[in-house]
Each structure stands twice: as structure tokens, then as C-alpha cells.
Assembly symmetry: C2
Homo-oligomer: 236 residues x 2
């Protein structure tokens, strides 16, 4: 799958959202393959720790990004920690959704990335959301990004002449597809970090590790990242 | 003009964006008049200084807001300071627009306010954008907020059952209308701060002071804020 439409001029600037994990690393290498001039941005909020931030920095450097920014968003932690009264009809819903869900998180992320993109004269903002994200995160679906792109066109000055567009090149892929893309693109997988824990090695037990290990297994690829623990079924 | 549709239940929670200036103060008192439970949020970015932040705090306290947050967004300054190469076709456009324009600023502001609103179980997010803002800020128009509200419905879990809605009760008003509303609602105008400068008194010469003084003059109301300078034509 090509990220850029056929005949698209090379040397367009793109801002790539980089978490330090597998999906966004593959996005970065897809943008590199498209011949775009790369700028990368990482958000530092409550689920992030230094391993992820460092992984993002290393990936940006390895991909020859022109500039890498780490933006602190501590208030997303504070907001997430707020509590809806348990008698409130919304409580039941928010209680059921993924613990990684933060209301309107992606709107804040893509607004900031697009703000930078507009100042740079960049044409694209690139984010890695895969098919399985859609069920847990309503702000990761193709429908959501279609609306966000309309907002970018309507809500900015440059939208009048050359709208910035958010592209999500992994949106039809499974995690195993992403692993296969990573291999094809020669993404330095050893630099990525997906684990939620803070250990020296990836824990191998948290939901992020389990999903990653399963994807590598399903793609028939060995994960170069070291794990404290990997279940017999996920070993190659 | 009533902020809430007829028959709307009282005691809904609302998050009000508060800059410390005249427009957002009037918004806050309109939300108070509607009987909503008030939460207020102020963004600290490069155009803001302590006078405005303090004005917002005082207004929130005076309006009996349940909670007031000041959220630091220093990166909006960094982003604004980035430069598009002067040969870029976008340069001409961005060069012409208001110096107060920051790309996608309101999308970041309303995403964060809506994130808090969702965590609180609030139904409304309230912002003060008046008719004359629309020409300078494409992210302040009714069309923009209509799209943003669709994004809120599509991009959040609570959107499925009880969408949060951004309301902009001043969007049809001139600044003089806002002054008249302020008088009707008994807004403590002496606590508001509009001046861009950092003096003890408002400067009376910056674009914010000039526009405010004209509005008070046009509404036939004396501005209780003290000015270093007020042009003869704007004195009452």
C-alpha cells in the first residue's frame, strides 16, 4: 500500500505522530518511503514513560527527521483522573471502555500536530491507527478522520488554499500486517517500545506486549525486542 | 437571548472557556443565568500574561464555579514562532492574517475542554466568539463549531448516548451588544482584563483596549477598568 496518491509530488513536508511503538514507527517509514520531508512529534502524557519517549527520539533520528518535538500534556492525566459520579448515566459507559481511553485525546493530539504542520507549510499529518483500534477508540476511525480533515479545511487559513490532510496509512491493517510492513520497510524494530511497564526489558505480560507478541507470531517474524517473559505459545 | 433551549433542564454541568476578558466573562454569566453548574478553564499560552490569568481566577470565584483550571500550553508559543519559508505559497496568506492567529488553536482549546467535560459528565462547553471574530479566525465561526460538534459526537464514547455540545452564545453579537449583555447580567466588569500590555492599568492603545473602549462608548456604558490613556473620542 502506498501512502501517497499516484503522481503525488515528492518533497512534501509531513508531521508524523510518533509514540515510540510499532505502529507509529511503521507510519514514519511509510512517510519516508513516500519521499516526504519528515517532522516528528511525541506527546508526553500520563501513560507514557521515558522508555517510550526515548524510543520515539531514536526512531526520529534513525529516520533522519528534520526536527523532533516532545510536547508535554500533563493535564490529560489530570482530566482522565476526574471522576463522573457513579449515579450518572455516562458512568456505566466510561467504566466499560478501555483504560487507555482519554476523551478527545486524538483531537488534542491532531490539533497540535496540525498547528505545527500549518506553521511549517506541511501538507500531511500522519498517524498510525490500525483496524483493531477502531472498536476501542472512537477517535481513531476513518469516519472520525474524515470529519477532522473537514475541520482542518474549514478552521484554518491555509485550508482555503492548501488544506493539510491527516492520513492514517495503517487503518485497514491488522497488527500482523503491520509487522509484515515493518519487515518490508526495514523499520529498526529493535528501537521500538510497546510495553506499558517500566522494566529494563519489555514485560511480555501487559496487553501491549501480548498483542505485539501475537502479531509477530502470526506474521512469522521474530521480535528483536527482549522480553522478561514470553508465553510458550508466542515463542517462535 | 437565552443560552439554553426552552424547556432545557437546569443543573447541567458546563465547562466555560475563560480568558479573563469581556466576552468570556459574559459567557460565564450567561451560563450562570441558565442555571448550569459551572466549571471554568483558562489556557496559559504565549499571548497570555498574569493579569489575564488572575482576572480569569477572580471571575471564576465570583461566579461560584465549582472548579477552575489553568492549563499550560507553552508549545502553542513554540509552534507560532516557527516560520514558513518566505518563498512558500502559504507565506503570503499567513503573513496577512491577524498576529493573534495560531493555527488550530481553538481545536486544541475545545478538545481539552471537551475532554474535561466528558470526564465530568458535563453537557456543555461554552465559548465566547463574537461576530467580528469570524473574519479573522476561521476556527471561531458557526460553521466551524457545527463541524466540531459532529466530531464530538463521532469521536467520543459519550457521543453515542449524550453528546457534549459546544455552545457559543455570543456568536451573533457585536462587542457593544456584549457590553449591554454584561450590564443586564451584572457581570463584574471591573474584574475583567482585555489589554495586551503588562501595565498596572490597561494601556488604552493596544487593539484589544481600542476595541473594548469603542464598544463601551457605543453601548453608552462607562468601563470600570482604569486606563493609562483613553482617546478623547472614547471618553464618556
Amino acid at each position: 500500500m502506498q501512502i501517497a496518491p499516484n503522481g503525488e509530488a515528492l518533497n512534501q513536508k509531513a508531521v508524523v505522530l510518533l509514540s515510540g511503538g510499532l505502529d507509529s514507527a511503521v507510519c514514519l517509514w511509510k512517510a519516508k518511503e513516500a519521499g516526504w520531508i519528515l517532522y516528528t512529534i511525541t506527546y508526553n502524557f500520563h501513560l507514557r514513560h521515558s522508555k517510550e519517549i526515548q524510543a520515539a527520539e531514536k526512531l526520529a533520528e534513525k529516520a533522519n527527521a528534520v526536527e523532533h518535538r516532545t510536547v508535554d500534556l500533563p493535564f490529560l492525566k489530570e482530566i482522565k483522573d476526574s471522576e463522573i459520579d457513579s449515579s450518572h448515566p455516562l458512568h456505566k459507559i466510561l467504566d466499560k471502555v478501555s483504560s487507555a481511553y482519554i476523551p478527545m485525546r486524538n483531537t488534542a493530539f491532531y490539533a497540535i500536530a496540525s498547528s505545527w504542520a500549518e506553521s511549517l507549510g506541511a501538507k500531511y499529518v500522519v498517524g498510525g491507527h490500525i483496524a483493531s483500534d477502531h472498536a476501542s477508540f472512537p477517535d481513531s476511525t476513518p469516519e472520525y478522520f474524515q470529519l477532522f480533515n473537514r475541520l482542518l479545511k474549514t478552521g484554518s487559513w491555509t485550508g482555503r488554499v492548501q488544506p493539510i490532510r491527516v492520513v492514517t496509512p495503517l487503518s485497514g491493517l491488522t497488527k500482523a500486517d503491520v509487522v509484515r510492513e515493518a519487515v518490508r520497510l526495514k523499520v529498526p524494530l529493535e528501537l521500538t517500545w510497546s510495553c506499558y511497564e517500566r522494566g529494563e526489558k519489555a514485560c511480555g505480560r501487559c496487553p501491549a506486549c501480548v498483542s505485539r507478541l501475537k502479531a509477530f507470531q502470526s506474521a512469522g517474524v521474530k521480535d528483536p525486542v527482549e522480553y522478561e517473559y514470553s508465553a510458550p505459545s508466542t515463542k517462535l
